[in-house]
Amino acid sequence: MNDAKSKRELWIGWWTLVVFYNLYGLLFFVVTRTQPPPSPSAEPAAIVQWFADRHDGLIYGYAVVFIVGGATAIMNATLAWTMRRMSVSRAFAYSYLVIYALATLPGMLLMGIACTVGAMRPDRDPALIAWLYDFAFLSFEGTMGVFLIGSLVWMAAVLLDKNGVFPRWFGYLNLCNALTEVVVAPAWIFQGGVFAWDGAIAWWVNMGVFVTYTAVFLTLIRNLILREDFGTGPLPELPTR
């Protein structure tokens, strides 16, 4: 296969990342309105009302998530490919793929399933609806450990790599992202305040770091594809325009 065709495949992977991160942002923030997260201390009656207010958005929004959710495989494969281009062992890319395949469950599907069930069964006991609400947001916010280890795997790969796939500061940014994933853990304990699942520290600061981190790695992967020479050694510098 010639280089132009191979690059086209990499660009498909990169555009899948860009399109789906934006789409997920739209679905979670605008269509389903499940982000920013609501209060964890809401009473069952308020929770039933919360589901009623978002009924159509939850059903149609998560229907789209369930239909296109498989795109995460292409996204994760593109991220894992960056590690395959490094001089490090293939074990890094394989670990990352497995971790992020698992992360799809708490990061997307469990919340979607719980919210869809709550929206589709409004006649159920409010206590059960409140249970679904807790399950949805705790599974989403409280299980960031998989992302923590994923970031550390990427960090180690970047810092050990001799091919110059990514700058070393990106390795350190991975560490920064990993450390903010730890900060979400108190969301299991608190139902209000800055450490709750909607809190200034557990959610807002974390989201700020995550958005920055995502924008950075999308840019770096774009540059990586531009630099790619399909060899196995050090990558050339970014071509000048």
């Binding site: 390795g171 920064c176 108190p186 608190f190 800055v194």
Partner: protein, 192 residues
């Protein structure tokens, strides 16, 4: 002319990898966000924060600060010795840094244990939530700091591996931990 070039070169020089300084910047921004949230919450509930803060022993905070400042001094001596190719002295100072760091860790755990015995836990009130959160996240950074020191020691032990840049990078990380602690100490123990 030559002087101007040397001045310019000195101005550009940063110890270790410039990438580590990017990490220092990221962490400084994230901690600034935590500190801002702390100050806002404190302003909203000043009386509770002052009452709870009174249960912290300022002397313990001062001791922790002095120990970490001493560790920063020893890691700086380690870098200086490595620059002068006195690798035995550099290793001695690296081990001394590990010792100071360990004293801090043990002392911090003892302080937490004492607070828990007195009935002040993570959920006792907003001040103690911040106290445990900020000291624990700093503790985690310190644990990573031991990995950095381990890398520096590994480099210094063999002439085949010695990289001044790596030693300085690890020292920069260690200084960051100290820098963050001084701010945490000021906010939790001193600001009354």
């Amino acid at each position: 002319m030559k002087e101007a070039r040397e001045t310019a070169a000195a101005a550009r020089f940063v110890p270790g990898q410039p990438d580590m300084w990017a990490f220092v910047l990221f962490e400084a921004l994230v901690f600034t966000a935590y500190f801002t949230v702390y100050v806002v919450c404190r302003t909203r509930n000043l009386e509770l924060f002052l009452q709870s803060q009174a249960h912290l022993d300022l002397r313990v905070g001062v001791f922790h600060t002095l120990v970490l400042l001493a560790s920063s001094w020893s890691v700086a001596r380690c870098v200086q010795a490595a620059r002068e190719r006195s690798y035995e002295a550099a290793l001695r100072h690296a081990y001394l840094t590990v010792l100071f760091g360990s004293v801090f860790l043990v002392s911090k755990v003892l302080e937490w244990a004492a607070k828990l015995r007195q009935g002040f836990g993570f959920t006792t009130d907003e001040f103690f939530s911040f106290y445990y959160f900020l000291t624990a996240i700093h503790f985690l950074h310190l644990l990573i700091g031991f990995v950095a020191l381990g890398i520096a020691i590994h480099q210094l032990r063999s002439p085949l591996r010695r990289s001044q840049e790596t030693v300085e990078t690890c020292a920069t990380y260690w200084h960051t931990i100290d820098f963050l602690w001084v701010l945490i100490f000021a906010l939790l123990y001193v600001m009354r």
